[in-house]
């Protein structure tokens, strides 16, 4: 049906009383997302769009059964908010804010792994399971229920790909935004393997881009998967980015150029796509 979120997910919003929190809660509710409440320290007892506000995530979970959370808070508060969420039993967390300190994300990732929780972001547009739930800041216009999953680092690419899938009649099961920050809560491989377990997802489009190391990490997952994976990588013609000193070169080796990424993914069995219009063509060829 979908991965990570669906119509049964009980969603809470951390920072629900803030400007962005309020605004997007309304949007998400309008889409039909099952938002059950939110939290802001010191504002327990208030209501936002008819949903109860609690002082802590734990109280929200206890009173509403929330199992998914979306964070709308300034970057410097994300570390504690994310740790609070996974410790309170939130199993899936969407981190919308960008510019989260990298060391903070290392702590957050560690806590998430320790508690068996999944985190996407920071700097993600969110996740949408069309017709069921829309978490984050994504417009609903490009999306339609269907049979292809997408996972991408960029919000705008998520829209273009979904639009392509929607226009070509495939539709989407779930579209996941990994986020644009340098260290992310989840990696391509982890999301791909969730799609692999979802019967409704007949193919996955993964969209990466130049820089970073998360695309390369996906190759093992792709090799294991029966579900076909289509791969687009942005930045084949981008000027090369700066390297993180000798140490970066030693740790990350040859990783990072768009062509390297495309080559690695293709070698692992992914189907490379150059432009969006290659996507429906490839899906048709694969008989999806």
């Amino acid at each position: 049906m979908a991965i990570l979120v669906d119509k049964n997910s009980k969603v809470m919003v951390q920072g629900i009383t803030g400007g962005a929190g309020k605004f997007h809660t309304e949007r998400m509710l309008a889409y039909g997302t099952n938002i059950v409440g939110g939290s802001t320290p010191g504002k327990g007892g208030q209501e936002v769009h008819g949903k109860p506000v609690f002082d802590t995530v734990a109280e929200c979970v206890e009173n509403t059964g929330a199992d998914v959370s979306v964070i709308f808070l300034p970057a410097r508060f994300v570390k504690e908010a994310a740790i609070e969420a996974v410790r309170a039993g939130i199993r899936f967390l969407v981190v919308v804010p960008e510019h989260i300190p990298i060391h903070d994300m290392l702590h957050v990732r560690r806590e998430a792994v320790a508690h068996g929780a999944t985190i996407i972001g920071g700097n993600t547009a969110g996740i949408i399971s069309p017709g069921q739930a829309n978490l984050g800041i994504m417009p609903d216009i490009a999306f339609k229920p269907g049979r292809v999953g997408t996972v991408s680092r960029s919000g705008s690419i998520t829209y273009y790909v979904a639009d392509t899938l929607t226009q070509s009649g495939y539709g989407e099961t779930t579209c996941v935004g990994l986020g644009g920050d340098p260290v992310l809560g989840s990696t391509f491989d982890e999301i791909l393997l969730k799609f692999e377990e979802d019967d409704a997802t007949k193919a996955v489009v993964m969209c990466g881009e130049i820089g970073g190391v998360y695309e390369e990490r996906a190759t093992d997952a792709i090799r294991q998967m029966k579900t076909p994976v289509l791969a687009m990588i942005g930045g084949v013609y981008a000027p090369p980015g700066k390297r993180m000193g000798h140490a970066g070169a030693i740790v990350e080796g040859k990783m990072g150029t768009a062509q390297d990424k495309l080559d690695a993914l293709a070698e692992a069995g992914a189907h490379p796509c150059k432009t969006f219009s290659d996507i429906p063509k490839t899906l048709a060829k694969l008989g999806v």
């Binding site: 060391h103 290392l106 800041i137 919000g155 705008s156 260290v183 881009e209 942005g234 140490a247």
Partner: protein, 398 residues
């Protein structure tokens, strides 16, 4: 945020990493004045926020004050990878017995901090890593982990630091790791760590990159005189202008002005133009939900760029709405006027409204829109890309 060598050494000193005698000078005269009190030969090191200064001639030695001034003049005349040399560091030359490499950085793929060390320090460390990986010592730690002396000593021992200096070497590694964690670093590097002829270990260079997003929690950096800085090489006037307006912008060497939405499609759109045989003149990121004013400014940057032969526009209305986008374009057309050909597409949130606003404005003043081909969802973005390349060719581009 990358630090200058002299700033990195300030941090090293704070963490008890031995850095040796050094003096910062901001002019050849200051160099002359300072070296007169130093032991010769003196090394003059250009301070720039980039690597490769040695190959660029930015490091010189001098045997006397006059030579030092002459060589400093050469350094101050250099621009290395776009960075003009504004200061030099003066250090009595070390008598080098051996060079080691020590670095701490992020292993993002595995969410770890990695300590790297080698007995083969110096400029060729990357080659060593590629050709003789067994000569590189690594240790991965989780962010919450302390690096203990005994582990650091094991690392130091594997690099071949001699026995009597092992404890000192281990302390340097521990302190470098602590600096990395304390200051939210992305990279700290000592290359080389020098073993001197008189058996001291000295950090002869310092490379420190901090996480810009975490600088807010290190106000003491400012107390040390280390301020947030622009890290790119010298900007073009247009890049300077864009930076003042808060628009991420980069000049490229093509002729198609890129006017895309978010950074993700900014990168991908560049590729599309190449796929169809064109070359972008720039990279640009609109940011999330740009205001009409911002959109107008983005267009000014492109229209006033003589290299731009045609403009490629694309907007996927997400949280930002296409009607606002259309209003921004019209604002630009009215206030400034468009001298280049532009092909553009709107889709996503409120795209019909965006197209409608365009139609309405065009009916009122067709002249305003004479250079614009505006499309909606019906035309794939690939067609728009192709068309942009065609338009540029028509205007005499490559």
């Amino acid at each position: 945020m990358r630090l200058y060598e002299f700033e990195g050494k300030q941090l090293f000193e704070k963490f008890k990493i031995p850095v040796g005698e050094r003096h910062l000078a901001k002019s050849p005269d200051e160099v002359y004045r300072i070296v007169s009190g130093l032991r010769y030969p003196v090394v003059i090191k250009s301070q720039v926020l980039t690597g490769g200064r040695g190959k660029a001639g930015g490091i010189k030695t001098a045997e006397g004050a006059n030579e030092a001034r002459t060589n400093a003049e050469i350094c101050f005349g250099l621009t290395i990878k776009g960075f003009p040399v504004e200061s030099v560091l003066l250090e009595p030359r070390l008598d080098i017995k051996k060079e080691y490499y020590i670095g701490v950085t992020l292993d993002r793929a595995n969410y770890k901090i990695v300590v790297i060390a080698s007995g083969e320090g110096g400029v060729d460390i990357e080659e060593t890593a590629a050709d003789n990986p067994e000569k590189i010592v690594r240790k991965s730690l989780s962010i919450e982990e302390e690096l203990f002396s005994f582990d650091a000593l094991t690392i130091a021992k594997k690099t071949g630091i001699p026995s009597p200096l092992l404890k000192e070497g281990a302390a340097i590694i521990v302190n470098l790791y602590n600096l990395f964690r304390k200051y939210d670093a992305k990279l700290v590097e000592i290359n080389p760590l020098v073993l001197t002829a008189d058996d001291r270990l000295i950090a002869a260079d310092a490379r420190v990159s901090l996480d810009d997003d975490a600088v807010f929690r290190h106000p003491d950096l400012a107390d040390m005189g280390i301020e947030k800085r622009h890290e790119e090489g010298e900007m073009t006037p247009r890049e300077q202008q864009a930076a003042e307006w808060g628009i991420p912008y980069l000049d490229l060497d093509g002729d198609i002005g890129m006017f895309p939405g978010g950074a993700g499609f900014g990168i991908m759109g560049n590729d599309f133009i190449h796929y169809y045989g064109g070359k972008p003149a720039n990279f640009m990121d609109s940011g999330g939900g740009p205001s009409p004013e911002r959109i107008a400014k983005m267009l000014v940057l492109l229209d006033e760029n003589p290299n731009v032969k045609a403009i490629f526009g694309a907007r996927f209305g997400g949280i930002s709405r296409c009607d606002d986008f259309a209003r921004g374009v019209i604002m630009f057309l009215k206030d400034h006027g468009l001298s280049k050909s532009m092909v553009m597409r709107m889709t996503g949130n409120m795209w019909q409204e965006g197209v409608r606003i365009f139609e309405e404005a065009k009916q009122k003043d067709p002249e305003l829109f004479k250079n614009i081909e505006a499309h909606g969802i019906e035309t794939p973005i690939e067609e728009i890309s192709k068309r942009a390349v065609e338009l540029a060719k028509q205007e005499g581009g490559n």
